[in-house]
Symmetry: C2
Subunit: 321 residues, 2 copies
């Protein structure tokens, strides 16, 4: 397969036009008209074969996930997505049909969330990888950042936790496997929470680690109850009887849910926003003075489970700087 042929196949179903796309795929760079009166929100994330996905992923899952994990970052900032650029690395001898299917998965996620593929690049490499840059927009003052949480704010998470991590285990239930391979970014909920939450982020590296990052950025601590963590029926069934049934929900990565802190006076509006977005939003604790995350077991004892992904080890999740 030639390079031009590969690009054609990879992008065959991708939406190339969209809001602000003046000149898309095909020139040295894309020309994009930024929306008036909004800030841009930009992030980049890579999915690498053997690190973020393996042979159990369908090719379309790989493409979907490469874009979805970036859109989750935009959701965590309360932004709406506009444009994506995709840098693809391809091992020599790669199967052109497989690459087309990867592109189709990315295209499906892009169409679903109204993102235009505005540009990209293809290089040879030892393994398949997709490095996706997404740019979105948010009105000034509506962006959610990790800083801003205040003592007394309620800590909430969207959806359910631990399913994606469970999805990596042998014999995992299909619902968990799907959460691992086809994460759904919480864009609508994120935008609704933009004017309500005091701080927020998406959960990619495990609740305890991500919450500790939010606390550090806000200069506060948090106290959470593990029994409050929302877990799916499949997750509850699969982890029943384990020594630490909260391990995956508290420490597993790739949830791609939202973590927000909301002042008590705005809690009712936050819950109303979640109902409109049809995503559960569950209080799991409070912001407190001090530092660090104090996670409590049902009896009141401190949870011993540490959280700390080193992303240079071959596992899921990808840190951002």
């Amino acid at each position: 397969v030639t390079e031009a042929d590969l690009i054609d196949r990879f992008t065959r179903r991708a939406p190339r036009a969209g809001e602000g796309v003046v000149l898309g795929i095909g020139d040295d760079a894309a020309l994009l008209a930024p929306p008036r009166g909004e800030l841009l929100v930009a992030t980049v994330d890579a999915v690498v074969e053997g690190v973020h996905f393996d042979a159990r992923f369908a090719p379309a899952d790989v493409g979907w996930k490469a874009l979805a994990v970036n859109l989750s970052d935009l959701a965590g900032m309360a932004a709406r997505p506009l444009w994506a650029l995709c840098a693809l690395t391809v091992p020599r001898g790669a199967d052109a049909r497989r690459l087309a299917a990867v592109g189709d998965g990315l295209a499906a996620c892009a169409r679903r969330h109204g993102v235009a593929l505005a540009g990209g690049n293809v290089s040879a490499a030892a393994e398949l990888s997709l490095t996706v840059t997404v740019v979105g927009a948010v009105r000034p003052g509506r962006a959610l950042t990790r800083a801003g949480a205040r003592p007394g704010d309620v800590v909430l998470v969207s959806g359910t936790l631990g399913d994606a991590a469970l999805g990596l285990e042998p014999g995992a239930p299909a619902a968990a496997t799907r959460r691992q391979r086809r994460p759904v970014p919480r864009l609508a909920l994120g935008r609704s929470l933009g004017g309500l939450a005091s701080a927020g982020m998406d959960l990619s590296d495990g609740l305890l680690l991500d919450l500790s990052r939010l606390c550090e950025a806000s200069g506060v601590g948090a106290r959470i109850a593990l029994e409050a963590l929302p877990r799916s029926a499949a997750h509850l069934r699969a982890t029943r009887g384990r020594a630490d049934p909260w391990a995956l929900a508290a420490g597993g990565g790739e949830d791609y849910e939202l973590l927000v802190t909301v002042p008590p006076a705005r809690l009712a509006r936050a819950h109303a926003a979640a109902r409109r977005a049809r995503v559960p939003l569950t209080p799991i604790g409070f912001v407190v003075r001090g530092r660090g995350v104090d996670a409590r077991l049902p009896g009141g004892a401190r949870h011993a489970g540490g959280a700390g992904h080193d992303h240079l080890a071959p596992q899921r999740g990808a840190p951002r700087f």
Copy 2:
């Protein structure tokens, strides 16, 4: 080395603040204020160990080049650069000091060209790679694209051609090696030509191939004289006596010079712009009706040398889509 430590070291010298950077490195995404009244120009490119660089590159050269090749795309669009995002992949066991030096090279290029590093990402992978996204700005109507060349326009290139390709040969002169490892994007010249040239692009995959792309996008042909191709003194010396002394200048990649077409009435202004930017700008031929690039040898015979990089082979240059 931990991931947080690596990020700190990689970004230690990078300019984090800059025009429009509202919130930079450290959150889920960067918050960026687009300049009023301008279009954004966005592109992505990767440099991969063993494909785009090897052990002969100093670590700082790798970082420099990863950003410079992207800035060259902005130059080819007549844009000024604003922000960069860098996705880094790192093999396990990588030397932290080497990675810091790679980051220092990227930082040096960013400082030199007024680019803020607004975000990034680090993942494990089999080899070291840097995938850099850059976003710049250009006034509407000033952007150079590949479309727009008209029969009768003059074809010009900046600087000298073939040095970077020569720089890959064993025993290459130091000047050529430097062109290979430390390309200098022609940003000032590109911006000056934005209002003058009818079409333009940067040269990354060899003059003949890139010119054929410009011609295709413009729906025209081109006729060029190989003896007109600007070659450096070192290049002339090194290629004297070769069967095809124009091979590297016509077909070698990674020149990172500008290729533009200029209507004859604006030629004097284009040359004045080049003098101000202190970069040579050399006419090499004309745009003609028809299709394809007709490259002529000094005696008038057609040049047989084909140009056609397949970027999935392990060689330099990286195609953009």
